[in-house]
């Protein structure tokens, strides 16, 4: 589990899972898209509270490994300035059967969005930029279930 500054290599992440016991391997990629609410986007800057994000990411991965039933799970989140088409997050999971791999992978991305201390600033065509409205984490690290718009 790691925060990285360099571009993510999806094949390398996927290659880190898998086992002769496993009939399913999944790779999820989060990617910078070229629009947000119909506004053209040229890139996103990701910022992290790195000293806290690293242990939170490990916690999330540990919880997901229980759903997965194996420890063959890798999560990488990028920080810094990304352009359209670059990957912000990669999640690889493998398990004997597909259901567990799908469930664990989905769990990781949803929990990242609820409680990983990471923020993103979208850069729009024309030069404006804006912090993206996110989710307020609660003290227990669980979602408040409220989307805040700024």
């Amino acid at each position: 589990m790691a925060l990285v500054r360099e571009p993510i290599d999806p094949a390398e992440v996927l290659a880190r899972v898998g086992h002769d016991e496993d009939g399913a391997a999944l790779l999820f990629l989060g990617t910078v898209r070229n629009h947000a609410d119909e506004r053209p986007v040229t890139g996103i800057t990701y910022e992290a509270y790195e000293e806290m994000a690293a242990p939170v990411l490990s916690d999330i991965a540990g919880e997901a490994a229980e759903l997965l039933g194996t420890d063959r799970l890798v999560v990488v989140h990028r920080v810094g300035e990304l352009t359209v088409g670059e990957h912000s997050v990669a999640i690889a999971a493998s398990s004997p059967h597909r259901a567990q791999a799908f469930e664990a992978s989905r769990y990781v991305i949803e929990e990242i969005k609820k409680r990983l201390p990471v923020w993103k600033k979208e850069h729009y065509a024309g030069g404006r930029d804006e912090w993206v409205a996110g989710t307020t984490p609660t003290a227990a690290g669980q979602p408040a279930g409220v989307e805040e718009r700024r």
């Binding site: 989060g30 990701y46 990471v118």
Partner: protein, 81 residues
Amino acid sequence: MSVQALFFAAYRDLLGTRALSVELPEGATVADLVATLRGRGAPYSALPVEPAVAVNRAYALLSETLQAGDEVAFIPPVAGG
């Protein structure tokens, strides 16, 4: 006692600073820290009354009692992934 307040993303932009040492009375809580900062006036008064916070890198309640040297991060709504 003094604690270290950290600000990220929109909060850092709002205040123009990433870290601040704040003097508080012994026994102060996170809520007391928030009130102290907000009481400084603009731009601090624009911080939420009840922000999400982390004390020493773990999410915490506003009622948590602080110790000298604690690191208190003000966590804007998160948007990873």
